[in-house]
Symmetry: C2
C-alpha cells in the first residue's frame, strides 16, 4: 500500500527520443567522463596530436645564464655612450663556450647568439652596428643602452617549474617545448581503439566485384578517414548483412573496442536489426533520433567502458553525425579539452530555404571577399546521399532550427571541416 | 673593345637579400613548380591528406535506378490524393532487392531507404505518415505529391563521368567519394622525403645527458612535428657541430632528400658555416634574409630537384619560417592547391606596439566573444626563444610592416595554427 514505485533500472527506462544536438552531445560527453581515460608512455616522435597526462617540469634554467640575443659584441654601455668608438676585442665567445676574460674599460668580446655574456659586460652591440677595425679592434657605430639584446638567465624556463600542464594538447609547438624540457618520452592519454562496421544487404564491399543492384560501401571508408584524421587507425570490421546471427557476431567483436561505429540499419524500418541486437548483447541505449538534418536516426549506447554509435546509412548523414557526436567523444577519450571543430562567421552568398523544427548542417564552400569577410555558398546538392558535395565542402553551415529562410548577406556560423584548414592565398595583407 | 660583359653565372649572381615574405614565397613556389611532382599508387586506407594525381570516373550510375529516399511505402500519388486512404501491400522491397510486382490502382509496396521504386509507383510515403492497417494493408494518413522522396537514377554519379578531378585534396569526404567510385587504390602525388638537421656546438641532443653550458635541441623536434602534421615522417639527421667537414657530411646526406631543413648557423656570425658549405656542395642559393620578425636570417637554395631551407636557430623563428615558407613548399610538392594556413579576422584584445619596417608574426590565443567575433590576445612572451608561448598559441597574428601600433579593438588577421583547429564549445547557436 505504502510502497514507493521501484526506481526504473537503466535498461527499462524509456529511451530518450528526439533530443536536441546539444542535449545529445551532453549525454555522450557525460558517459565519456564517467569512463575516464588511461595513460601510456610514448616516444616524443609519436606524441603529435596526443594529450599530456602528467605535468612536465623544466630540468634546468633556460637560458642557463645571461646570453646574447644577437651576433655582435658584448661591451660596457658606459664605454660606447659617445659612439662611434673603437674597442679592443679580448675574447671570442661562441654559443656553448664559456667566457675566459672579464671585460675591462675599452674592451669588448665578439659574441654569438646564445653565447654567455662575459663578466664585466652589461650590453650587446649587434654586428650590423659595428665595422671591423684594425687587427684585434672593432668600431662600434652607435651607442647602446645597458641590457640591450641580452636574454636573462631562466627567462624562458626555470628549473623545477611546471612548463606544460597535464591536459595540454600536443601540437608542433608543444613538441618543441617537450624537447626543450628533454622529454624523450611523454605520458599521454591512451588512444581509444575504434572499430567500424557497415550494415545492409544492399552494400557492395570495396573488394567485391561490380553488382548493378548494389551500392558501394562508402561509410566504412569515410568514417575510417574521419577517425584517421584524429591520429587513430581504426579496425574495419566489414559489412554485416541483415541477418541477426551474423550481425550479432560482428557487433560482439566490435564491442571489444573502446568505440564502435555502426552505420546503417537503425531507422524505423522492419529490417533494421542493429538496435535490438545491441540490446540483446547487453548494451544500454541512451537515446536514439536527434533533431537534426541530415542525421536524424542516430542512436548511442554503452556497454561497460565501450561506446557504441549507430550512425545513419546515408553517407553524408553518417559523416555529419560523426562531426557532431563521435568527434567530440573521440577527442574527450583522447583527453582533449577542445572537443569541437573551430567555427567562423561568414556572410551567406545566397538565400537558403529550410524546414523549421530541426537544426540543419549544410555543406558549404568558403571564399574570402575583398572586405576580408568569408562568404559561404552551397557546396552542391544537399542530398544526404551526395558524397561529392561533402568532398567539396570546406565547412558545415549551421542553420538554426527555427529558421525558415536565411537571406543572402546574412551572417552565419560555419564549422570548419578537415579540408577547410588551408586556403589558396597567403593573405598577408598590404605588405609591400 | 666591343666585348659584351659576360652574363653572370647563377653562382656568381648577387644573392637576393632582404626580400619581402611575399617575394620569398613566390621565389620558393616558382622552384617547386619547376621541379614538378611524381605520382604513386597507394591503398585507399593510406590516402587521407594526399592529392589525386589522376581523374577518377564513376564506374556506375548512382543510384543504379530510382530508389526510395526514406523508409515507407511506394505508392501512386493519384491513389492517395484524398488521404487518409487504405492501400493493399503487395510487395516488401529492401535495399539491394529487386521489386517483384508492378503496382496497380489501390496497391502499395513497403519500401526501405535505398530500395528500388517498383514499376507503377510514382511517389513514396514516409512510414511516419502511415498507420498499420488490417492484415496486408496500411493506412496512408496524408496525401503526397508525385516524385516525393524518390532519388533519381544517376542523381549522385553518372557512369563514366569524372567525379573527382586530378588535383583534389583527399579529405574524409573525398575518401568516402573514392570508396563510392570503388577506388581501392588511388594515384596520388608522391610525398616528398624530408630530412632535418640542427647545427651548433651549443646544442644538447635529446638523448644526451644534461650539460649546464648547453641548450636542448628543440628545433629538430618542433620541425619534425610540423612535417608530421602534413602526414610525412621526416628523417632526423641529428646535430652537426661547427666543423666544416662534419657539417659537409651531414649536408651531403640531407641533400639526398627532396627537402632538407637545416636550423641554426646561417646568420652573419663568423662561425656560421652552413651557407658556404652548401655552396661548396653545389647548392644554388636563391635568397637569404627575409624582411620579417621573427625569422630574419632565412636562406633558400636548390640542388637539382632538392630544396634546402636554412632556418634560424631560435626555435620560434624556425617554426614561424616553417609556417610561412616550408609549409607552402611541402604542400605544393604534395600537389596541393591550397598551400597556406586558413586565416580569420579577429579583434585585438589589447594594443600592440611594433617596430615598423618588417612584417611581424605574433603568437596569439583566440577567444570567442559574445558578439561572435574572435578576440586575439598575446600568447605570452614574444621572444623568439620562448617555445612555451608558441606551444600555447592558436595562431599567428599578422602585424603589417608599416604598423607602429595596433590599438585594442582593431581588426586583425590571424593565421590558424595546427592547435587552433578546435575549440571548447560547439557553438551551435540558439538551438533550443
Amino acid at each position: 500500500m505504502n510502497e514507493k514505485p521501484a526506481k526504473p533500472s537503466p535498461s527499462s527506462s524509456p529511451l530518450s527520443e528526439g533530443l536536441s544536438v546539444r542535449d545529445a552531445q551532453a549525454c555522450i560527453l557525460d558517459k565519456v567522463t564517467a569512463i575516464g581515460t588511461e595513460d601510456e608512455n610514448i616516444a616524443l616522435e609519436r606524441a603529435l596530436g596526443r594529450v599530456l597526462a602528467a605535468d612536465v617540469r623544466a630540468d634546468r634554467d633556460l637560458p642557463p645564464r645571461d646570453v646574447s640575443a644577437m651576433d655582435g659584441y658584448a661591451a660596457r654601455a658606459a664605454d660606447i655612450a659617445d659612439a662611434p668608438v673603437t674597442l679592443k676585442i679580448v675574447d671570442d665567445i661562441q654559443a656553448g663556450n664559456s667566457p675566459r676574460v672579464t671585460l675591462q674599460r675599452g674592451q669588448c668580446a665578439r659574441i654569438m647568439t646564445g653565447a654567455p655574456v662575459p663578466d664585466g659586460a652589461d650590453t650587446v652591440v649587434r654586428v650590423e652596428d659595428t665595422r671591423p677595425g684594425q687587427d684585434g679592434e672593432v668600431e662600434i657605430l652607435v651607442p647602446v643602452k645597458v641590457a640591450t639584446d641580452i636574454r636573462r638567465r631562466a627567462e624562458n624556463m626555470r628549473q623545477g617549474e611546471i612548463v606544460l600542464a597535464a591536459g595540454t594538447a600536443i601540437g608542433p609547438g608543444t613538441v618543441g617545448a617537450l624537447a626543450t624540457a628533454k622529454q624523450a618520452a611523454v605520458t599521454v592519454h591512451r588512444q581509444p581503439r575504434v572499430a567500424i562496421l557497415s550494415s545492409g544487404n544492399e552494400l557492395e564491399a570495396l573488394c567485391e566485384p561490380f553488382d548493378p543492384s548494389k551500392i558501394p560501401d562508402a561509410n566504412t571508408y569515410a568514417l575510417m578517414a574521419q577517425v584517421q584524421a584524429q591520429g587513430i587507425e581504426p579496425e574495419l570490421l566489414g559489412i554485416a548483412r541483415d541477418d541477426p546471427a551474423e550481425l550479432s557476431g560482428f557487433l560482439k567483436r566490435g564491442l571489444g573496442h573502446d568505440l564502435l561505429l555502426v552505420s546503417g540499419g537503425t531507422s524505423v524500418g522492419v529490417h533494421d536489426h542493429v538496435r535490438p541486437t545491441l540490446a540483446a548483447l547487453g548494451v544500454s541505449m541512451h537515446f536514439w533520433r536527434v533533431e537534426m538534418r541530415p542525421g536524424h536516426p542516430l542512436a548511442f549506447g554503452t556497454l561497460g567502458r565501450s561506446l557504441v554509435f549507430c550512425l545513419p546509412g546515408n553517407p553524408v548523414s553518417s559523416m555529419v553525425c560523426f562531426e557532431q557526436f563521435v568527434l567530440p567523444a573521440l577527442r574527450a577519450m583522447l583527453g582533449h579539452r577542445r572537443l569541437f571543430r573551430r567555427t567562423l562567421t561568414a556572410s551567406l552568398a545566397h538565400s537558403i530555404k529550410s524546414r523549421p523544427g530541426r537544426i540543419e548542417f549544410m555543406r558549404v564552400k568558403l571564399t574570402r571577399k575583398a572586405s576580408g569577410i568569408y562568404e559561404a555558398s552551397s557546396a552542391g546538392s544537399q542530398s544526404s546521399s551526395d558524397m561529392l558535395s561533402m568532398a567539396r565542402a570546406d565547412g558545415l553551415l549551421i542553420v538554426p532550427s527555427a529558421s525558415k529562410e536565411l537571406a543572402a548577406g546574412e551572417t552565419v556560423r560555419v564549422q570548419l571541416l578537415e579540408t577547410g584548414a588551408y586556403q589558396d592565398e597567403a593573405e598577408l595583407g598590404d605588405e609591400s
